[in-house]
Amino acid sequence: MADSALPSFIVLHYLKIWLASVRYSLVRSMMFRGDFIMWSMVEFFWMGVNVAAIAVIYQHTDSIAGWSQYEMLLLIGTSMLVQRLLMGLFWSNLFEMGRNIRSGNFDFFLEQPGHPLFMVSTRKIDLDSLLNVTVALAIVLFAVNKLGLSPSLGDIAIYVTFVGCGLVSSYAIVLLLASVSFWTIGTKGVESGYFTIYEFSRLPKQAFSGVANIIFVWILPTVVISNAPARALISGFSIPDAIWVLSSTLIWLSLGIVVFQAGLRRYSSASS
């Protein structure tokens, strides 16, 4: 009894902290309404650019690595969905983490009522990105409709789980990149490298070969993030895909946490 009460207390404690961050972000967004509208439009336009690219290429060809136009749209929609969730929930927190480590403001997070990793990752949410999650979702639904798919509840649950795993892996990659700041004292971070890598999640797995296949499909989780959920909707649940997604998520998250903790130990000892 006491054993189960403790974890639920901890969960409640962290939920309360997170809700406080959400409230703070909401108030902030409403204070800077102009910014909120502008940034929502920026993200919306970028998504439009990617959709336009697909529309134009398919004017001239029927398939990209065996994927039809709407299958490709589903892939891109899924890739955007994961990215918008990452942007909305974690990106600016992790981006600022790198900057705070370099400036010394990171101390502030060590004094807060929760684990530093939780505190740095959830300090604020970006409502403009979360608003665009609905746009990404609309693209996915549009593609599903055009493909004539009628996924069962089970398929949808798998899709949601895979997208969740994609979010966790993306988070882990950015955490890793931001944690580099614990060791380097350069003026500029490498967090933005994430965007360069993430671009590959808009491509079908079948398009990769040779070294690119090893790097982007098997080593980095970029391709699995979008391909596995999209494939689950198009051709149903596949056990190899599930193993691929879950193991890659687990490995990258563990790696992210281990590196962050190592950095944290280094930071504490450096500042004492």
């Binding site: 502008m38 920026v42 336009a52 004017q59 001239h60 060809t61 671009e199 079908p204 079948q206 398009a207």
Partner: protein, 269 residues
């Protein structure tokens, strides 16, 4: 005239030196661009599966277009000139130019030219290293008129790129932050400048319409001349429209500078 050149020659040499300081930033940027090029290769190779041509061009021609675009970007593209100008306005650094016989636009443009010289040459290094991998895809048309018309087109593109960045910098006179304007405009420039796909793949009417917008002349136009995507007549006609846009944008930039200074003195009291 000689005095004028001497004056800005010093600006150029200072710009050159200060940009060499940022050589690692440029090198890193170039390395990221190569990774982006890998994305472009994978995407287009997959799109060409089962097709010998797309829009009348082979896979090699299309990849040559994207490689040319990458090189051009480091030689003529505006990087963060808009933010630098914005910062100089915000911090009041421009005040010193108001009392000196220095034209702020020419001053900033000179620094831009020196910066692009550094970044362009640095970007060639990773590209040359990657040549064994990408060399087999490079295929340029043999006509010499493409060089004769392509070079002035590239120069005017640089002017257009810089002047648009300068105009965004001028917005600082009226707005606190310009970042969202810049990124919003960047999405349009990326798409209509031909960086996502060669513009000639657009449906004919939209392609025709895009030729009247300044974005067409920012990047696509010189790249298309060099890589054989447009013919002689379109290139000559394009140069005319491009020259119009150079003049129009210079006019807007000058207008905003004059109006902005009125705001500036009002604020500075």
């Amino acid at each position: 005239m000689r005095l004028l050149i001497a004056k800005y020659r010093h600006v150029f040499s200072v710009g050159l030196q200060s940009n060499i300081v940022y050589r690692w930033n440029f090198a890193m940027r170039a390395a990221f661009s190569l990774i982006h090029l890998a994305f472009v290769f994978i995407l287009w190779r997959a799109a060409y599966q089962g097709e010998t041509t797309i829009g009348g061009f082979s896979l090699h021609q299309t990849l040559t277009y994207f490689i040319t675009l990458l090189v051009l970007q480091f030689f003529i593209g505006a990087f963060n000139e808009d933010y630098e100008i914005s910062e100089e306005i915000r911090s009041g650094l421009i005040n010193q130019f108001l009392t000196k016989p220095i034209n702020y636009f020419v001053y900033r443009f000179t620094i831009f030219v020196s910066a692009r010289l550094v970044s362009g040459l640095l970007a060639l290094i990773p590209l040359i290293l990657a040549l064994p991998l990408i060399g087999e895809y490079l295929t340029f048309p043999p006509e010499t008129w493409r060089l004769v018309l392509g070079l002035p087109a590239a120069l005017m593109s640089a002017l257009i790129q810089f002047t648009i960045a300068y105009i965004f910098g001028m917005l600082t006179f009226w707005f606190l932050e310009i970042q969202s304007f810049v990124i919003l405009s960047m999405t349009i420039e990326t798409l209509l400048g031909g960086q996502i796909f060669p513009l000639d793949l657009l449906p004919a009417t939209i392609f025709r319409m895009s030729q009247f917008l300044p974005y067409y002349y920012q990047m696509y136009f010189p790249a298309a001349i060099f890589t054989g995507r447009i013919d002689y007549a379109s290139a000559v006609q394009g140069l005319g429209i491009q020259a119009f846009w150079v003049l129009a944008l210079l006019g807007i930039a000058n207008f905003l500078w004059r109006r902005g200074l009125k705001e500036h003195t009002a604020v500075g009291g």
